[in-house]
């Protein structure tokens, strides 16, 4: 008997096949192939087991923007489970310092005590990094009935004060109708909060490193002459899972890299219409070159010099699928998303730098894995 011909799947996958496996299909009304397939046993004869070497070879990071309040970067060659873990850690597990207890001596403003306390808790604060990250530790909440200050020390509690009184401004025009000019302290802003360092905090939070609101112009309350707010606040470290005020990010999200493939030429007025189906800069208009027109079967024959649509920057696309609604583009364009290309966007609330936050999330992930490893070892033993 002649040796049987080898089946096609026994060959190593070519680039086209690999790309197909890595693409989420986006159609008019459906999204297809949205789960990853690079796990052992999915394709016969292929070993897709996770290996550190393969991950190292395939993984790359590319920064698009890196400002203290906004970092945007691509993670390529990583599974959704990992990048989603980073996103979730960013939102709910990285500790920050926020107002936790408010001791109100007097509050005759129209803002109720509990509303005022809640507003104060949501104000983001900044301070010296060394003090915030290394010097300050967790605070243990006293048991009900115990002294409120019981577990408060300089290494876990930051004290702030807010003392403002609204008075009539004698120098103002009697017909002045702007309360900020007619009265003193008509508006209470975050910048009115005074940091009162205790113990070793004087070294860690001195000068520019002092604990202060990130945005000094946050409005806390409005008052009229005779009204007064006098209170002390205690800040503790906490995590976003406990309360959103502890979350170090305003947003931390990712999206998959869009793919736009023009399979058949889009020419002339159609090209301009096609460009308008996408956000600015995604599709560019180009002229059909003589070389392309000379190519048989390319679809460009006898169209030299005409405008054609080309994909310029798919990253800017919002994948609105507008182009799939028009019959003139039917069969000419394919939309998709790259399954292992995550475009992260992290906006810090101010206590950490945005890029620093991502590194911290990786650190947290590593720590979690170490803990799990230990538990697995205990289980086997």
């Amino acid at each position: 008997m002649a040796p049987s011909k080898k089946a096609s799947w026994t060959n190593a996958p070519d680039a086209e096949e690999l790309e197909k496996r890595n693409t989420v299909g986006i159609h008019k009304e459906t999204v297809t192939h949205n789960t990853s397939v690079d796990f052992p046993g999915h394709v016969p004869g292929e070993d897709e087991a996770f290996s550190l070497d393969r991950f190292r070879d395939g993984f790359s990071v590319d920064f698009h923007q890196n400002d203290p309040f906004h970092a945007s970067f691509s993670l390529m060659g990583i599974d959704a489970s990992l990048s989603n873990a980073f996103r979730r850690i960013l939102i709910s597990e990285i500790p920050t310092l926020a107002v936790e207890n408010v001791f109100i001596e007097i509050n005759t403003s129209v803002v109720q005590d509990e509303v005022l306390a809640h507003r104060l808790g949501l104000i983001p604060f900044k301070g010296g990094k060394e003090g915030l990250h290394n010097f300050l530790k967790w605070h243990k909440k006293p048991e009900p009935g115990e002294d409120a200050y019981k577990n408060s020390y300089d290494w876990n509690t930051v004290s702030l004060e807010l003392n403002v009184k609204c008075t009539l401004n004698e120098d103002a025009d009697p017909r002045e109708d702007d309360p900020r000019k007619a009265y003193h302290n008509a508006h209470v802003y975050a910048r009115d909060i005074v940091f009162t360092p205790t113990g070793a905090q004087e070294q860690y939070f001195a000068g520019d490193d002092a604990i202060a609101p990130v945005h000094p112009d946050i409005l806390i309350a409005k008052m009229r002459p005779g009204q007064q707010i006098g209170l002390t606040m205690h800040m503790h470290k906490g995590i976003g899972a406990d309360h959103a005020k502890f979350s170090p990010v305003a947003t931390a999200s990712y999206r998959l890299m869009p793919i736009i493939k023009i399979t058949r030429p889009i020419l002339g007025a159609d090209a301009e219409k096609f460009q308008k189906c996408f956000p600015d800069g995604v599709i560019a208009l180009d002229k059909v070159s003589a070389k392309e027109a000379a190519q048989k079967g390319s679809g460009y024959e006898s169209h030299v010099g005409e405008t054609k649509a080309v994909v310029a920057d798919p990253m800017r696309d919002t994948v609105s699928r507008e182009c799939l609604r028009h019959p003139e583009f039917e069969g000419k364009v394919k939309l998709g998303r790259r399954r292992d290309h995550f475009i992260f966007s992290i906006e810090s609330s101010g206590q950490w730098d945005s890029d620093e936050l991502f590194m911290e999330s990786v650190k947290h992930m590593k720590l979690k894995c170490k803990k799990l490893e230990q538990q697995v070892m205990d289980m086997v033993r």
């Binding site: 207890n101 001791f103 509050n107 005590d113 306390a117």
Partner: protein, 72 residues
């Protein structure tokens, strides 16, 4: 979980919570007039009225005690 540290004074709360300790029987209380906003001191048997505008609605002043809240 008790959300506020402030507990209204109860009869058996002891010397800290109770307002009637016998030692400091207040003969005069200050109120705030609901009409003109001025502070009104009332003696034990005085008529309940503001001595400036004769307004008959008087409000109790806010407690001078510190009140603790959780910023949540």
């Amino acid at each position: 979980m008790v959300r506020e540290g402030y507990q209204p004074p109860t009869a058996g709360a002891g010397p800290r919570g109770s307002t009637h300790t016998g030692h400091e029987v207040r003969t005069q209380m200050t109120y705030i007039c609901g009409d003109c906003g001025s502070r009104v001191s009332l003696a034990k048997d005085a008529a309940v009225a503001c001595n400036q505008c004769m307004g008959r609605v008087l409000y109790k002043e806010r407690t001078k005690r510190m009140v603790q809240f959780e910023a949540r």
